[in-house]
């Protein structure tokens, strides 16, 4: 459209050439556009349409049920509970892994020779398969045989059963989540730290801000604003998608206190095969992730300029 308007008053020859170029441009973009539609947009549309039906996997007949799946979902205590649990999990994992990631990044940054070694060590959890590591954590925190229990006993603490205690189970899962994310956040913060010009520290030094805390509060932290925003958004979205540890370790137990959104979705869709309600939950999940990302972008974006 714009191309056509802009070229309306130029000579006919030039006009034709520009139109050809525009067409070629669209032609070049078409394959990517088709892929985006087929791989990203179409599945979401299909899921949305499914969420308006009572389709059960394998069934021959199904019917449109309008928004029933959504209204049922809002009255379903299992769904509401898993939503609540997911928020609690996110509320522990995001601050935990962002702050720890920042601390580790600053400490590692100041190393010179051993920097690479520390980076590798802290990054290791990111490279592991969370499902396999869930099994390991499961054993570590075993209330009778695990090394953590032995340590607690030796230090005189009473026994605790992380995955059996309704009040501890989300904390236990969150610790594993933090453990996995710290290394990734550290790498992102390290990249942010490298981008801070040295002369800012020199200038701060001259102005009298020469203590470690002053340097952090006046230079490092403000300069890391954009990085922190990015880290918080990605961490929130990753934490929102918690599934592996729940599926491997607790399966929603005890008393549904570790039911999280994706696990409930999995149970409805792939154990009870109710595709309609499961699709409605998928849409709800998409909306939540989108809202979180947008809200963070809008709110924090205003404070990251200096």
């Amino acid at each position: 459209m714009t191309v056509a308007l802009n070229t309306a008053r130029v000579s006919p020859g030039r006009n034709a050439q520009m139109r050809a170029e525009a067409l070629a441009g669209y032609a070049f973009a078409t394959p990517a556009l088709i892929l985006i539609i087929v791989l990203l947009i179409a599945p979401i549309v299909v899921v949305f349409l499914l969420s308006l039906t009572d389709y059960q996997l394998g069934a021959l007949d199904w019917s449109w049920v309008g928004l029933t799946n959504y209204s049922d979902m809002l009255g379903d205590r299992v769904f509401l509970r898993s939503l609540g649990n997911t928020f609690i999990y996110v509320a522990i994992v995001v601050p935990g892994s962002v702050i720890l990631g920042l601390v580790v990044a600053i400490l590692v940054q100041e190393r010179t020779k051993s920097k690479a070694i520390y980076q590798t060590i802290f990054f290791l959890p990111v490279t592991t398969t969370l499902i396999a590591m869930s099994v390991v954590w499961h054993f570590l925190l075993n209330p009778a045989l695990g090394p953590v229990t032995s340590l607690a006993r030796a230090l005189g603490f009473s026994d605790f059963d992380v995955f059996g205690d309704p009040d501890l189970v989300l904390v236990g899962l969150a610790v594993i989540g933090i453990w996995q994310l710290v290394g990734f956040n550290m790498i992102l913060f390290l990249a942010g730290l490298t981008a801070i010009p040295r002369d800012l520290y020199d200038a701060a030094d001259i102005d009298g801000a020469d203590g470690a805390w002053d340097r952090f509060a006046r230079v490092t932290w403000p300069m890391l604003g954009p990085t922190t925003l990015f880290v918080v958004v990605t961490t929130t979205i990753t934490a929102f998608r918690v599934f592996d540890t729940v599926a491997v370790i607790t399966r929603g137990n005890p008393q549904g206190r570790s039911d999280v959104l994706l696990y409930t979705l999995y149970k409805v869709g792939f154990q009870d095969f109710n595709m309609g309600p499961a699709s409605a939950m998928t849409i709800a999940f998409l909306v939540f992730v989108l809202v979180v990302a947008l809200a963070q972008a809008f709110i924090i974006d205003k404070r990251t300029h200096y």
């Binding site: 996997l57 054993f139 995955f163 059996g164 009870d272």
Partner: protein, 428 residues
């Protein structure tokens, strides 16, 4: 080489490529594609298939990848049904067999077995299968499947711990009272020793709850499958037992895998589990202690029953050219040859009456008395119940939460039972 000869030779190669499966098929007759659940079962399935192929050289059995659970297998089959890519033979979990066979019957993608059984004759039927076993694969009056692996819950115990606590391993208690008394004594042996563990508060599915209700002579629903039926005194006795496990049996409410690991490590006296895990448990225990098994106590000696876990084989091919081979395979796996291998490799109960004879499992049972416990329970085994409607897994989850309330003492047992009945009824 010009373009034409290139194309010709390419076509030639392509034709050769297309033909080679045909050549293979001509040599081996029929190929049956088979799917079973649990990669851990690959071993005995392959061994059974190899023996079958050796005895039936015209049939080739090939396995697809094994889904990790019955539920994932079920959803895989339903998806394949939509795209017409079903395997010829599939092993379905008993609890998923009614929805699977009904849906596939509706779609015309399953072969019922009644005519095959009729051809074999009644004498053959009574010689090979007990009516109760065949009934496990029978729904709506049709034989949908041949039972392959069957299991019931049994007691596993640590002989050394039982002896130390003053119990007699040769006379393991056959009542819950006796079990709890022994468990409390074992628990008192040390701070790091537990008496009893049964993962009813945490394990997936409701198999253990069904076992408690059925062994007390109760029912989960009425015969018409309309009204929840465990709200009676039998259901109350069943739920009270869960509370007594904690109060009298000193059970810790651990997560299931941790509870089982602790038993393997020799730190728990008594464990309730499926007999299907006997081989795996024996291997995991190793030389840590002497593993023994005992029958699950029936609180109601006359009407008490136990739910049957496991899976049954369905024939999904409707291709007349394959049906004869598929039925031969079905008879083989559920017959003495197949069952001998399956039982030895797992601990499941045999579905074939012939398999218990001396030349098949007889000698093995004499050497491995742990494996005979479940065989003694075959007469009290009944169908694994599946709730009608779309919410069976949700029902099970909510029931488990209620059981937790009772076991943790957060609500009186009778109140929990009333709530559990109402919750279940509300989801049907």
């Amino acid at each position: 080489m010009d373009r034409r000869t290139l194309l010709q030779s390419a076509a030639g190669f392509a034709a050769l490529g297309l033909m080679s499966p045909m050549i293979a098929r001509a040599q081996s007759g029929v190929e049956l594609v088979v799917t079973h659940c649990f990669p851990g079962h690959d071993g005995f399935h392959t061994e059974i298939a190899n023996a079958f192929m050796a005895a039936n050289p015209d049939v080739k059995i090939s396995f697809t990848n094994s889904p990790p659970t019955y539920e994932e297998g079920h959803s895989l089959i339903l998806r394949q049904a939509l795209t017409n890519q079903l395997p010829d033979v599939y092993y379905s979990g008993f609890h998923l067999l009614p929805p699977l066979s009904r849906q596939l019957t509706e779609r015309g993608q399953i072969t019922h077995l009644d005519s095959f059984l009729a051809t074999e004759g009644d004498a053959w039927k009574t010689e090979n299968y007990s009516p109760r076993i065949l009934d496990l694969g029978n729904f709506d009056g049709k034989q949908m499947a041949m039972p392959f692996n069957t299991s019931t819950p049994i007691f596993y115990f640590n002989e050394e711990l039982v002896t130390q606590a003053g119990g007699d391993p040769a006379n393991f208690p056959d009542t819950w009272e006796g079990v709890f008394e022994l468990a409390a004594k074992i628990d008192a042996l040390g701070d790091d020793v537990d008496g009893f563990y049964m993962g009813i508060h945490t394990e997936a599915g409701d198999w253990f709850w069904q076992a408690l209700v059925y062994s007390n002579g109760g029912e989960l629903m009425d015969a018409a499958e309309k009204t929840v039926a465990f709200g009676d005194e039998k259901g109350l006795a069943a739920l009270t037992l869960t509370k007594r496990m904690v109060d009298e049996g000193k059970m810790n409410l651990r997560e299931n895998q941790q509870g089982v690991q602790q038993f393997y490590a020799g730190k728990t006296g008594i464990l309730v589990q499926s007999t299907a895990g006997l081989r795996a448990t024996t291997d995991s225990v190793g030389t840590n202690f002497t593993l023994r098994t005992a029958r699950y106590p029936l609180a109601d000696a006359t009407n008490g029953r136990l739910p049957t876990g496991g899976n049954a084989q369905v024939i999904l091919t409707t291709d007349p050219a394959k049906l004869d081979a598929a039925w031969r395979f079905s008879k083989w796996v559920s017959g003495p040859e197949g069952q001998t291998v399956a039982v030895k490799f797992s601990g499941y109960m045999p579905t074939s009456l012939v398999a218990e004879q001396e030349q098949y499992l007889g000698a093995f049972y004499k050497e491995n008395p742990n494996y005979t416990t479940s065989v003694g329970q075959i007469p009290v085994a009944r169908k694994w119940f599946g709730y009608p409607g779309k919410n069976s897994n949700k029902i099970i989850d909510i029931q488990r939460e209620n059981i937790n309330l009772a076991m943790r003492g957060e609500m009186p047992v009778a109140e929990v039972l009333a709530k559990m009945v109402a919750d279940t009824q509300g989801l049907i």
